[in-house]
Amino acid sequence: MANILGIAASSGIAIAKAFRLEHPEYEITKRSISDTDAELAKLDAALEISKTELEAIKERTLQEMGAKKAEIFESHLLILNDPELISPVKDKIATEMVNAEFALNEVAAQFVTMFENMKSTYLQERAADMRDVSKRVLNHLMGVNFQSPAEIREEVVIIAEDLTPSDTAQLDRNFVKGFTTNIGGRTSHSAIMARSLEIPAVVGTKEVMEVIQNGDIVIVDGLEGNVIVNPDEATLAEYRAKGAAYEAQVTEWRKLRDEVTVSKDGVHVELAANIGTPNDVAGVLDNGGEGVGLYRTEFLYMGRDELPSEDVQFNAYKTVLEKMAGKPVVVRTLDIGGDKELPYLVLPKEMNPFLGFRAIRLCLDRQDIFRTQLRALLRASVYGDLRIMFPMIATLMEFREAKAVLVEEKEKLVAEGVAVSDNIQLGIMVEIPSTAVLADQFAKEVDFFSIGTNDLIQYTMAADRMNERVSYLYQPYNPSILRLVKMVIDAAHKEGKWTGMCGEMAGDATAIPLLLGLGLDEFSMSASSILPARSQLAKLSKADMQELAAKALDMQTAEQVVELVQAIHA
């Protein structure tokens, strides 16, 4: 029994016989030819067969995985029709009098190198497409046959160096139970395909091809990123049970995708997701998110050489609002500075970055940056239910000042004839203890609160959450934190406002019963936590949790609170 670690790329457990998928290896040698016409005809024939194959794969992918996944093969077809590829190959054959496979291999290699040297990682990965396409044609030129994954007719786990897009497209879910590869990461083609096919996969193991032989029994644990070769009976039984439990859970979660979130006694709370880019919205909808509770706009400002223009921002916000189709989207204005640096925004080094010039403090000082973002948001507001919140608010004056800037920009836009929504809720992050304590006063002026627990805990406990030596002080269940959370929620409710939470704590299974009991209205978490949370909440009665929370507030230590919550599961 061998245990190999890799990267969990697609969830689930697969147990089956190993099938090594090996692409034929051959040397491509340079040969002189005399009949260039015959060589060109040979190339054309190989290209034609390859195109026919690709058409078929494209069709199959379209049927089984949808138009989006099929597009990759449309681009493969375009590559085979691309004059930039085919003309140089033909020129080489005709002028240098060399064999077709040598000419093709040379030209394709230039494109592979070009892609590999590109700045964007996405374009770097297109090198794999180029290799995939040229390999297909080369196989035909060399007259090599290999068993394609489409021909597998028994239950297997595929073992491969890497899977090309066309390999993955040919996988038949009925027979291919899972796969594991030597190379790749969570965002490589094979990993993305595995998730959409819902086949368990572990990638980037570096050694499955060296360790596993055809016919070995293999467990692919796509939950933990583990591959076990020739397990003993006890291990097999353990993983069969783990796989069954996972399947049962997924079935239960899936049923909840389009349901509203209600507690056992019928109280509705909203489960929203935290996102960083418009691309994350698909995952939110897929997991039944009822809104976006935190859109971190920092990513728009990162990885570039200058501030993002108003239009770049407008497009991102508009895309998110449109994709969310009327569901609420809470956008946090720029939270940068301190430990989060932007290369083009030169700020002096600080002794205590977490206590320094960051977020709203920076935005109120650098109003050029702030106003651009607010204008982009206001312009996008007509495309959905936009809500804006300011981060790191410590005093009412800060909120009033920020709000005044927003109102000014709105008036300017309206004067310019630009449409702006009149129903934009305006709220604040509650992450500084002073704001939590004074929440009753804030509640008179804001439309909502969103509690940022990561910072609220570190500021309340005066413990840097990055410092391992004081990490024991990161105590979400400490009664002091729970009391602050309660103050904020109660203050909001007294004014008829709502309170959300967008820190780690909102998706935490131990915190959820307490937060329900404290009256939290909106829980915002990573998309993958939504369905488990919805399932958990359906089993909890709010009335009971109110009693539980009341007890927790009167406890002395975080440990006691954890014990109290765990007792309800026992």
Binding site: K68, E71, I72, E74, S75, L78, I79, D82, P83, E84, L85, F111, M114, F115, M118, K119, S120, Y122, L123, R126, D129, T277, P278, N279, L300, R304, E306, P308, S309, D311, V312, N315, A316, T319
Partner: protein, 91 residues
């Protein structure tokens, strides 16, 4: 005929939108279409050419057409740029 665009898609020009651009250019056999960016000019009838520009968000690209159907071709390309959310007309 030419038109300047600024890439607004946060992913730049990827395989999928590049495919759409090349497919649009290929519809006009009598007209040559080009893309020019970062000092490099390529034919829009080549997906490898378009991808080789390595276009990212914020880059400026000039699309030009030449031939019997240059108006229609440029309009078709503009539609792809705008409809795919790739770029916006710049100036």
């Amino acid at each position: 005929m030419e038109k300047t665009f600024k890439i607004v898609d946060e992913d730049g020009i990827h395989a999928r939108p590049a495919t759409a651009l090349v497919t649009a250019a290929n519809k006009f056999a009598s007209t040559e279409s080009f893309a020019e960016a970062k000092g490099k000019k390529v034919t829009l009838k080549s997906i490898l050419g378009v991808l080789s520009l390595g276009l990212e968000q914020g880059d400026v690209i000039v699309l030009s057409t030449q031939g019997a159907e240059e108006d229609a071709a440029l309009k078709a390309l503009t539609d792809v740029m705008v409809n795919e959310g790739l770029g916006e007309i710049n100036g």
